[in-house]
């Protein structure tokens, strides 16, 4: 009794009040919210993992990399049991884990677990359930950074406590609302020089008619011209809508280098057709074929915003609507200008020819850049 009591006493006699001599156990959780999915980076101290999992197989007081990565499945399981993500009341599912990696923090090395979580729909409220080491170290804390758009929230997560809610409100950063996607679509067509030049190259000769004898002449009547423009624009719209949807839903996913190169080639061909006309009647057919490729180009822009299959229909519609609105605005202004100018010698000569030559040269430059993956000076 006495020895036991004494050792208990020693425990407390003038207890050293040296503040927390070590850094306490923290894990670092970074969650990047993008639409309906979340990129996770979870850093967990090897020292904490060693306590729970006895990683030091040869018990020499050191962890070798072999001792760590051969137990990566156990580490992953510990991490997964300690973390659950719920978006707007519906559970998100963890995707496959990235390869084993480490990082250095102020108190030693941490295992780094990266993965992507998929949630059923665009995330507005994210509940993070955190129970890491709840059984073995209730003083452990998870330092969470949740990034959504340009914003970031920080919270200290307590294991065992109720889940922590992050408001990942719509409207900041990448668009999440319908209007946001419409704007994004308009933005994309307005800054997408290649799409615009393709349309312009097709529309340059729309206000003219070509005869074998006299070459290009001003079109006498508005109605057939408008109908022709309408056919071209509609063909482009229908074609790129089809491929945009196919790519967005991951049905077809052509390599982007091919897509971008063919888009450049389509601009070259459309402009060349003005200089050396091959297809005069039914330009809309040409437009339709190349419009299919442009749709794949739009899709990559949509994916850059961070959208995946789940809950895609509405954003897709919004984005496409934006593209059409932007396109209509460009066509309307351009058409008004060229209709007025169509009867001038300047337009029929310099306007059409010089414009088409310039477009051809620029698009040829793009084609070389994109096909051979090189950077040319003076272009873009």
């Amino acid at each position: 009794m006495n020895t036991l009591l004494r050792s208990a006493f020693l425990a407390c006699v003038l207890l050293p009040l040296l503040a927390q001599a070590h850094k306490p156990s923290d894990a670092y959780l970074q969650l990047q919210v993008q639409g309906s999915h979340i990129e996770q980076r979870f850093d967990i101290a090897l020292r904490d993992l060693e306590r729970d999992l006895a990683l030091d197989a040869n018990d020499n007081g050191q962890l070798e990399w072999g001792e760590v990565h051969t137990r990566w499945n156990d580490i992953a399981q510990t991490a997964q049991q300690g973390l659950s993500l719920t978006a707007d009341g519906q559970a998100c599912t963890p995707g496959p884990l990235g390869s084993p990696q480490l990082d250095e923090h102020s108190d030693g090395r941490y295992a780094v677990l990266m993965r992507r979580w998929a949630c059923p729909a665009d995330i507005r409220q994210l509940d993070v359930g955190y129970t890491l080491f709840a059984q073995t170290d209730p003083t452990h804390r998870g330092i969470a950074h949740v990034q959504h758009g340009a914003q970031s929230d920080t919270a200290v997560l307590v294991p065992t406590a109720a889940s922590h809610r992050f408001e990942v409100a719509a409207g900041d950063g990448p668009p999440t609302g319908f209007a946001g996607f419409v704007l994004e679509g308009m933005h994309h067509i307005l800054i997408g020089t290649d799409h615009i030049l393709f349309l312009l190259a097709l529309l340059l000769p729309a206000v003219l008619v070509r005869t074998k004898r006299n070459g290009w002449q001003a079109a006498p009547q508005l109605r057939p011209v408008l109908l022709d423009v309408l056919r071209v624009v509609t063909a482009f719209t229908v074609a790129h809508s089809i491929t945009l949807a196919l790519a967005a839903f991951d049905v077809v996913n052509p390599p982007s280098r091919w897509v971008e190169s063919i888009i450049a080639a389509s601009v070259v061909l459309a402009a060349l057709n003005n200089l050396y006309p091959v297809i005069c009647e039914g330009r809309w057919k040409l437009t339709f074929v190349f419009g299919l490729v442009h749709g794949f180009g739009f899709a990559s822009a949509l994916k850059d915003i961070g959208l995946t299959k789940a809950g895609l229909a509405l954003p897709l519609f919004g984005f496409n609507l934006g593209v059409e609105l932007g396109q209509l605005a460009i066509v309307a202004i351009f058409f008004a200008v060229v209709w007025t100018l169509r009867d001038t010698r300047l337009y029929r000569g310099a306007g059409l020819r010089a414009g088409s030559v310039a477009i051809t040269l620029l698009a040829l430059g793009w084609l070389v850049e994109r096909a051979f993956d090189i950077k040319l000076p003076l272009i873009s």
Partner: protein, 403 residues
Amino acid sequence: MRTFLSTLLQSAALGIALCTGCLAAPFVPQSDTEVVERLPQRIGTVEQRRQQREARERLRQQPAQLPLALQLAREALARARQLGDPRELGQAQASLAPWWSLDNPPPAVRLLRATVKQSQHDFTAALSDLNALLQAGSAAPVAVQAQAELTRASVLQVTGRWALATQGCERLAGPRYAALGDAVQLPAQACLAELSSLQGHADQAEQRLRQLAQRSGADNTWLTLVRAELAERRGDDSAQRLYREALQTPTPDVYTLAAYADWLLERGRHAEVITLLAGRDDADALLLRLAIAHQRNHDALADTAAATLAARFDAAALRGDRSHGREQARFELELRGNAAAALTHAQANWAVQKEPADALVLVRAATAAHRPEAAEPVWRLMRESGWQDARLQATPTPARAKS
């Protein structure tokens, strides 16, 4: 232009603020044999650690085994004291999980809960548990009560309530606990001696502690430490011998190492500090002393150590841990030369704890910040209690006319 510039500056500031939580790029070690982490100093043999793990596993499967839970919690607390690793406090808490949140847990659990809270600097919660164990009609066994009384006195002493602490140690030395023998009498007497040393009776206290040391026999490292600290306050050179004696164990604890390192630093013997603390920089308190020693040695390692300390303080702040006041004040004062920040930390720390080391850092920070009046609470306590400290007497005291 101006608005543009200020917007730019604001967004730059925001970028920096956001980046305090940024994570560096992870890496993959070159080979399987590469050492990726040195585990903290470990206690016991391979076999003992295996048994510990088994015991933890048994408890995990059946958590409501009180004797096993108490054993594991005590072991974790002992390691926490030796290594200074707060993770061990978490393990102690984990072992006691089924009882941890009860309003009225079994007395042995309550005692350990108070000890964990005290170690986490949650003095209010610790005192509330200790008071409950000691109140009239408490079901706690007398041995548990004796421990509770001593722990309570320790908390009261640290927080500057010396009269209450003295009453507690007097009760401990009284007839109620006499049957427990020297196991209680020695700490009770040491407690009284130390408290009296702070209240103007340093010389008698020194003699009393020397007698107690003779009586206690071999197992008196803790008493040697108390004597060393008193010798330092008295400006007595025997402090060095006593500190060294207290360090004569296979694994000296963080507190004793830090105390001796401070004694050496006071005397400009920073090279010895570097040798003393080599390989113990995982403990913040020791890393701080090491960084100060390197800096005085004009050694580039000081910058690395200071950066690591800053990162650890940031991490502590992020998790809402404010128990680093004393260390953080010294960090600002001695490593960063930021007297104003040091004073802020020292004042916040003094509001919670009032040990001699806390007084020292407040007085020095106030002096460096040219705000001597900020140290007035220390001078008042010294005047009222009769407490003497050679280190403080070396510090120029401000005019005391105001009082």
